[in-house]
Symmetry: C2
Subunit: 120 residues, 2 copies
DNA sequence: GCTTGACCTGGAGTCGCTCCAGACGGGTAA
DNA sequence: TTACCCGTCTGGAGCGACTCCAGGTCAAGC
């Protein structure tokens, strides 16, 4: 399939996909005889994974490392697992940030409601 | 207090505080006779709020709007409450993203473990 | 009176996209 | 055939939100 379909399937914009390829985050995208990119189902799975990793805050640098490991084949699976386990930890920290922020907001909103309740 | 203390208390770097001031996110920071910024306790509370809003993904544009409302005084409290309620909604969406990503990771990691379990 | 350290401003650099101009090639319509 | 879309290509500029740095000021301590 071509880039627009890859885009709708992965959630990444066509521009972002091209940018990721340039940045070495995507191993080997074939080209058709017309010179256009052709995406395999495995390419799509990979893009979807990248989509979630980025969306939840993995830096490009780490994704580049992950992509390099992927290119090395199955021997790198323990290291790849490490990367994902680290990212799970990052998700936990982010969730804690969301919780803390929710508390701050709840408190602030309660204060606002109080002020509204007793208008000057 | 001065900028370094404001930085440790708010969690924002001194550079970021100065940048936020330039960008109109911080209403009125006094200067001492030496020309240096002096932060009041209310300034600090404000910075802490900005810290949490940014850390959890509120765009600067919206924070600028929020700051403008703050400068208008108590009359703008209903609108400010709106902004914070919208941000609560954003937090919920982000949490959903984290959950979805956690699922994707769990699945991927399980696959890796399987492959490790049956080495070629 | 000299050094040290915190602060200042203005401006350049970075990351991760996003948008755009200009070119190409394939498919439909007049 | 010619005309025109459409989707894609590349290279490069622009942007949001910082981050870092050079070069300067000033107060305090030795």
């Amino acid at each position: 399939m071509r880039i627009s379909e890859a885009s709708t399937r992965s959630g990444l914009s066509a521009d972002t996909i091209r940018y990721y390829e340039r940045s070495g985050l995507i191993p080997a995208i074939r080209r058709g005889p017309d010179g256009l990119r052709r995406f395999s189902p495995e390419n799509i799975d990979w893009l979807i994974l990248l989509y979630w990793l980025r969306k939840t805050g993995m830096p490009m640098k780490e994704m580049r490392r992950f992509a390099a490991l992927y290119r090395e084949g199955t021997a790198s699976i323990p290291e790849r697992k490490e990367v994902l386990l680290n990212h799970e930890e990052r998700l936990r920290r982010r969730r804690a940030d969301l919780d803390r922020c929710a508390e701050v907001l709840a408190h602030k909103i309660a204060t606002y409601r109080k002020i509204e309740g007793e208008p000057s």
